[in-house]
Symmetry: C2
Subunit: 228 residues, 2 copies
DNA sequence: TACGCCAGGATTGTATACAATTGCTAGCGT
DNA sequence: ACGCTAGCAATTGTATACAATCCTGGCGTA
């Protein structure tokens, strides 16, 4: 299923962390994960290193690995950086114009979501992420795309708490369509307004949900494999 | 000298790549580096993974590692992202104010550099990098700091080609002092102007040097340890 | 009782052995 | 002469063994 075990462990471990199977503060040990995933320490180590890079796991040299704790300020800061970068995406796209085909496709998608509304909830988070990513890619600035991807990966796990009800999804559709319309006219001012509203709403939503998550993770298990 | 061999190899290998001992396009093998640094493959692998993350080395699965080739557009794009992020640093610092002590220290440093001018050339690149990093840290936004650090690490190796003569260093001093003065007065407009000039000059300088580097690396050796 | 020291265990850091994959090459057949 | 295939060499991917380090707990002493 995977090309190599490192990537496989990385994927599966990320998912478990994002699903809070391993809650923030949980201690991970290399050997424990070996048993968990039935592989040796080499791929586990590489996966852990990647997760440390991505910021999902914290590492204390020669001691242990710990699932990164949720921190409202960090999330807020990350969203702030994201907003700054995506505003630049708007600026670039309005300046240089966007391929019609891309705009058409995205617009069709979000019109579709809006019109048969209850059913889009399942992929809402993924769709939203893709929307922003594709616009970033349309700038042609890879450094920008990758930087945004890095930030996104740090807030990915809280994005799940953004679009949780139909009203919020409807609002998202409106914002996205407004952004697309503005981009089509190369109207930077409205693009910026719509984008800022879109992201700030998302951040507020997430932040609201964060306290629940934090308390839930405190209630859940805390210790790692052994050594209570 | 180092806490662990991985970090040590990482540092030393980075330096060799930056110094063009291993030029862009050069093929790196794990075993070759083992012999080179007298360590086993484990730390070498970890160092290579870090370098891949940092973008200095490209990896072809199950085949080889190659020193990343220089690409003018990528550098330009990275500088663009850096400018955007550092402009946000200015915005935040002007809004929330900066600790006097930090401004005093930085100002003293750059006044010192300017006044006994020829001698600062050696650490010019490092000093410049620290200047921008410390201002970023002063925002208190870790996501911003780390994102900037990520971008910086991608352009680190070309920054060496920025401040290469005294006139350029003098110019840098002027810009930095101007930035500090503006920050002291929370004067966003002038801070932005000085910063933009500072970074755009740097980018232009680097880009100018890039063609030389590229041609020099094409002239130099290309193959790795063996297998011509 | 409080503090410091030492031993033991747990865990990461490093080295090395083995497996799997890739790319080249020589040799065969057509 | 060309293309295909089997086998070889080189290299990375994975597993495991060994070394170094840090934490914990218990003991002794002031």
């Amino acid at each position: 299923m995977a090309e190599n075990l490192s990537a496989d462990v990385y994927e599966r471990l990320s998912e478990r962390i994002l699903k809070l199977d391993y809650p923030p503060g949980y201690r991970l040990t290399e050997e424990g994960l070996c048993a968990e995933f039935q592989v040796s320490r080499s791929p586990v180590r590489e996966a852990l290193n990647m997760l440390v890079q991505r910021g999902l796991v914290r590492k204390n040299p020669r001691q242990n690995y710990v699932v990164r704790e949720l921190d409202v300020k960090e999330i807020r800061d990350a969203y702030h950086v994201r907003l700054v970068l995506e505003l630049e995406v708007m600026t670039l796209l309005c300046r240089q114009g966007v391929d019609q085909a891309i705009l058409d496709r995205l617009e069709a998608h979000w019109l579709g979501v809006r019109d048969r509304l209850p059913e889009g909830m399942a992929h809402a988070a993924d769709d939203d992420e893709r929307f922003h990513r594709e616009l970033a890619e349309a700038t042609g600035n890879q450094a920008l795309t990758r930087t945004l991807a890095a930030i996104d990966s740090q807030i990915h796990f809280v994005r799940l708490y953004d679009i949780t009800n139909i009203e919020r999804l409807r609002r998202t559709c409106t914002d996205h369509l407004e952004i697309l319309t503005a981009l089509r006219r190369q109207d930077l001012k409205n693009a910026v307004v719509a984008l800022a509203r879109n992201i700030e709403w998302a951040e507020a939503n997430v932040e609201g949900a964060l306290s629940d998550v934090a308390s839930r993770s405190r209630a859940g298990g805390r210790e790692g494999t052994s050594r209570g």
